[in-house]
């Protein structure tokens, strides 16, 4: 029983750093290796067409935020399912009813969200 020690994650770490290193390397390499002209025109987001004005940061509708919050809630709910699924057989019917209650409660909440019309995009 010696699995799950931090050392066992070394391959993961190596892979992670390889992936990161590749991305960083490509970005730097493409910047410094290729020929490059620098001018104000060149560094504009759009080189041709209508000149861009103002800031990209515009205030936006609170609806997006509401949906993002609801997403986070259900995201956390799903995470609770992972340790349950791993132990599904060991926990048996007890665990199943437990999870059924949990999910049932949240699904009732989800039904409420739908009924309330939160997910309807252009309703007045």
């Amino acid at each position: 029983m010696n699995k799950g020690l931090p050392q066992d994650y070394l391959p993961l770490l190596i892979q992670f750093s390889l992936a990161l290193g590749f991305v960083v390397m490509t970005i730097f390499a493409s910047t410094y290796l290729g020929p490059r002209l620098r001018s104000k025109r060149k560094e504009d987001p759009f080189e041709c067409g209508i000149e861009s004005q103002g800031d990209a940061r515009l205030p936006m509708s609170v609806k997006y935020f509401l949906i993002a919050i609801l997403f986070v809630l259900f995201d956390v709910e799903i995470i609770f399912m992972y340790p349950w699924a791993v132990n599904f057989k060991k926990l048996g019917w007890f665990g199943f009813t437990e999870m059924l209650m949990f999910v049932g409660f949240l699904m009732a909440g989800f039904y409420y969200i739908i009924k309330k019309g939160v997910l309807n995009w252009d309703e007045d």
Partner: protein, 181 residues
């Protein structure tokens, strides 16, 4: 060169720990010190990732994964959303050298001092490596504890979610005839 000797003799795990700790602190300081709030959020992501690394070193792999998925992923997006609500074109000039800032910093330093002084004196019972079960932090073990012993708090978390859900809808839902912003 006592200090250099110590550095030379650090084990791999210690290297990893110090690296992650410094990264965590760097991210945390960057979060509160950077002028641009978007940069703050990115620094916070750095902190979350390095905390996840510390979780892995503590053998809490599931927590590390959850930390990345929920905090570095979802919650940070929410933070960015909030920043987008605000009009951040002009930098706020508040809190430069106000007495509030001085009070806050000195209180924080005092608290840090007390914590360090106390923890330095504290006697910490160390884990015995020989009879320590390395599977403690694995998902199987965690699941068994969560769904057997901590059944009631787990079910009540759904009530907490419902409160958050209905609260978000109550506060965030646009009323009839309100403008889009």
């Amino acid at each position: 060169m006592h200090f250099l000797e110590i550095i030379k003799n650090l084990s791999l795990v210690q290297w990893a720990f110090y690296f992650l700790s410094i990264l965590t602190l760097y991210g945390a300081l960057g979060t509160i010190l950077s002028k641009n709030p978007i940069h703050s959020v990115i620094y916070l992501v750095v902190t979350f990732f390095s905390i996840s690394g510390i979780y892995i070193m503590l053998n809490a792999q599931f927590l590390a994964a959850v930390n990345v998925i929920v905090y570095a992923g979802a919650i940070m997006v929410l933070f960015l959303f909030v920043l987008m609500f605000l009009n951040l074109k002009e930098e706020s000039t508040e809190m430069k050298t106000s007495p509030m800032l001085i009070a806050a910093v000195s209180t924080g330093l005092l608290l840090g001092l007390i914590l360090i002084a106390t923890i330095r004196k504290a006697e910490i019972t160390r884990v015995n490596y020989n009879d320590f079960d390395p599977n403690t932090g694995l998902i199987e073990t965690l699941g068994m504890v969560l769904y057997k012993n901590y059944m009631l708090p787990f079910e009540l978390v759904s009530v907490l979610f419902l409160v958050a859900m209905s609260g978000a809808i109550l506060l965030g839902k646009r009323e009839k005839g309100e403008s889009h912003f």
